[in-house]
């Protein structure tokens, strides 16, 4: 037989032919006997005594995955984590912002004393450095608190329980239950969330998970939400309630994001990505003692510094760009304000303003720099170089630039819903290998962001709230 020259075709024909001689479902039989063999081997090797600890795991699971308490506990856990983040971030930001902005002042003074040209001093200290200082002081404090908390939950084994609790909701919206795991990863970074959708087998459900991942605010957007919630929403409540109101607001925004995820998943699975949700087995791992060293490493080095570094890389050029835009003038008006004024009517339509829209355009490479960009524009125009604290921010934005509660809320909504950052878009393109889905991820998110903010702005105006 070996002397016949083989072609792939006649190999396949031969296989075809041989298959005919086998009983149908022979493979199933083999798999079945493989499984029963595994069972036999395992039974011979393992002896079990009765144990109490296992019961404890099960008893905890009965509560945290119960149909009644499961979801409330989940949101409570989230609320507590965010509340700790709000409180802790305030403390840390004080001792990070003060020295950072002080260094900026000193640097500028030294440059002026040694007679550097004004444009060089401005470019370096009011542009690049200020951009960096803003990003570090806005981003770092919440991340330093949020990430360790998140990593503890991850290490403990709580994440799969979240997936378990949300499974029925995902199934109802025609998506895969594991999408909640990829959503949870999105809290860290949407690009990472998109890659993690590989755990979803069905291509249809995987696409849904990819397209909706952005509705979870990543850590680049979290500080924006926390800052706005603290400075604006919580500001109208008594001081003793500030942190709780701020945390509550952020949780509420996250819940809106989750709700939008379900709605969009539902719509997609009934239009472009038609199909039934597939069943899957989710393993609930045992609760494990979080490993302290690993938590510190993962949350500080892997997550915080990684994200901060990325923010810094985009903040420096963005700071430079803003300084240039603010200092190149045309007919006595800076380019930045020419663009902002041009965008202003559009911004107002959505309850935002021109500066905010411009900031979002500059921040396409990384969402982290939205607030820094915005603040540099506002403060530069007001010739303010103060250390940013909540009170002076509030005065500046409300007093000088006519912000209202609507502006703050719509900015939060826009931040939650708008297009993914450039890295995430690239990741979506790589993972789906399709320009269509990458483009669609931008169109869907931007469309919803504008639709929602337009609606809230119109309603608020119609009711005379603004």
């Amino acid at each position: 037989m070996a002397e016949t020259p083989f072609t792939p075709e006649n190999l396949l024909t031969k296989a075809e032919e041989l298959r005919g001689g086998l009983s149908t479902g022979f493979r199933d039989e083999i798999v079945k006997s493989l499984y029963s063999e595994a069972e036999k081997v395992a039974n011979r090797a393992v002896k079990t005594r009765d144990d109490k600890r296992y019961d404890l795991d099960q008893r905890i699971d009965k509560v945290v995955t119960s149909p009644i308490y499961g979801l409330p506990i989940m949101f409570l856990v989230l609320a507590v984590i965010i509340w700790i983040t709000v409180i802790g971030a305030n403390v840390i930001s004080a001792w990070i912002a003060v020295p950072l902005f002080w260094i900026g002042e000193q640097g500028k003074m030294i440059f002026e004393t040694i007679g550097m040209p004004w444009w060089l001093t401005g470019f370096i200290w009011d542009g690049v450095y200020l951009g960096l200082a803003w990003v570090v002081s806005v981003m770092l404090p919440p991340m330093m608190i949020f990430f360790p908390c998140f990593t503890i939950m991850e290490d403990l084994g709580y994440l799969p329980r979240v997936a378990f609790n949300l499974d029925w909701l995902y199934r109802k919206s025609g998506a895969h239950g594991k999408q909640s795991l990829t959503m949870a990863m999105g809290f860290g970074c949407n690009a990472a969330g998109v890659i993690s959708t590989r755990i979803i087998d069905s291509p249809r459900e995987r696409l849904i998970a990819i397209l909706t991942n952005n509705f979870v605010p990543c850590n680049g957007r979290f500080p924006t939400l926390i800052m706005l919630a603290t400075v604006f929403v919580a500001a109208s409540f008594p001081a003793s309630l500030t942190s709780i109101i701020a945390a509550g607001t952020v949780v509420f925004i996250v819940m809106i994001g989750v709700a939008v995820t379900f709605v969009v998943s539902w719509l997609l699975s009934r239009t472009m990505l038609k199909g039934e949700a597939s069943a899957f087995t989710l393993e609930l791992p045992p609760y494990r003692h979080p490993n302290v060293k690993r938590i510190i490493y993962t949350s500080i080095i892997d997550r915080t510094l990684f994200v901060l570094w990325r923010a810094i890389q985009t903040a420096a050029p963005a700071g430079a760009a803003i300084w240039l835009l603010a200092n190149i003038t045309y007919n006595g008006t800076s380019l930045a304000w020419i663009i902002a004024n041009f965008l202003n009517p559009i911004g107002l339509l959505f309850g935002l303003d021109g500066v905010i829209l411009l900031s979002y355009i500059i921040a396409i490479p990384a969402n982290e720099i939205v607030v820094p960009t915005m603040m540099m524009m506002y403060m530069g125009a007001a010739a303010m170089t103060d250390i940013p604290d909540s009170a002076s921010m509030y005065t500046l934005l409300v007093g000088t630039y006519g912000w209202t509660l609507l502006t703050a809320i719509n900015l939060m909504l826009f931040s939650l819903l708008h297009n993914p950052c450039a890295t995430t878009i690239m990741t979506i393109y790589k993972e789906t290998n399709s320009k269509k889905w990458a483009t669609l991820s931008v169109v869907i998110t931007l469309g919803i962001a504008f639709l929602v903010t337009f609606t809230t702005a119109t309603i608020a105006r119609a009711l005379g709230l603004v």
Binding site: A15, L18, T48, K178, A192, I195
Partner: protein
């Protein structure tokens, strides 16, 4: 130091390891390796923890199934032999076609690792053995690392790894990757399986005589068509099963190409992943 990532090599004598065992974590230095080891296993069995312990890298670990979705590579040196360790995504089987299962399967099949360590969860051995048996269908060079021995103990389970080794026909080594216990034993066993001082005879399901006969006819054909193919038997089974992916890769001559590609593959990408520890 139970929480340390470093592997604690036992100082007392043990019968299974040579007198001077020596582990050097080489991190990302995987350019000049002598051997390739694949790390397979079910999700959430501690593969990444084992990977980190051996290579000194900080691949992100987390207590939920499906953490690792790409391949990560790292190196270690043991008794003066340099190993490249490839951390595969955790999968329950190698049969269906989700992307992570495909990554794992293709590497074991075509990447031709010198040895495959299947990391198993001592507390859920039965389900884990399903994958072990599927890996053993593909390759003889298998070492089973029975991980989470501490957790099994806590749950009141006793795992007899000797019986397990005997039944499976490949070495089963108890380890606790988190603390590094059993690690040098695992490494010397892997070395032994590679240089064939430890012989393996994997437990395989033979199926009906007709099935066996069909395999025997197909294997020589496949071997002649794709010279050097390491797993003709497995390809034959897939062909009998009508696996369209294997069929088309044969027809368009992709199979040899697939073998070559697995050697280089997405190292660049996975290396970046390993450095940043992000998935």
């Amino acid at each position: 130091m139970p929480t340390s990532n470093k592997v604690q090599l036992p100082t007392e004598h043990c019968e299974t390891c040579p007198a001077f065992t020596q582990l050097e974590q080489m991190g990302l230095k995987v350019d000049n390796f002598d051997r390739v080891i694949a790390l397979a296993g079910n999700p959430n069995t501690g593969k990444s923890t084992l990977f980190n312990a051996l290579t000194g890298l900080k691949q992100h670990t987390g207590n939920w199934p499906g953490k690792t979705v790409t391949r990560a590579e790292g190196g270690y040196q043991f008794n003066n032999i340099r190993y490249k360790l490839v951390d595969l995504p955790g999968t329950y089987s190698l049969l269906s076609a989700s992307q992570d299962e495909e990554v794992a399967r293709d590497f074991i099949l075509f990447g031709q690792p010198d040895c495959t360590i299947v990391v198993t969860d001592a507390t859920a051995l039965e389900r884990n053995l399903n994958l072990v048996m599927q890996v053993m269908e593909i390759t003889d060079k298998v070492v089973v690392a029975v991980n989470l021995m501490d957790e099994a103990e806590r749950k009141g389970m006793e795992v007899d790894t000797r019986a397990l080794s005997r039944d499976l026909g490949v070495p089963a080594i108890p380890v606790t990757a988190r603390t590094g216990e059993g690690m040098s034993n695992l490494l010397s066993t892997v070395a032994g399986v590679i240089d064939e001082t430890i012989s393996t005879k994997p437990l395989r399901i033979n199926g009906t005589p007709e099935f066996q006969n069909a395999i025997d006819q197909l294997v020589p054909m496949i071997e002649q068509m794709v010279p050097g193919i390491p797993n003709a038997r497995w390809v034959a089974i897939r062909l009998l099963d009508g696996d369209s992916k294997v069929q088309s890769s044969l027809l368009n001559g992709e199979l040899p190409e697939l073998m070559a590609r697995q050697r280089r593959a997405d190292t660049q990408f996975s290396r970046k992943m390993a450095v940043e520890g992000r998935q």
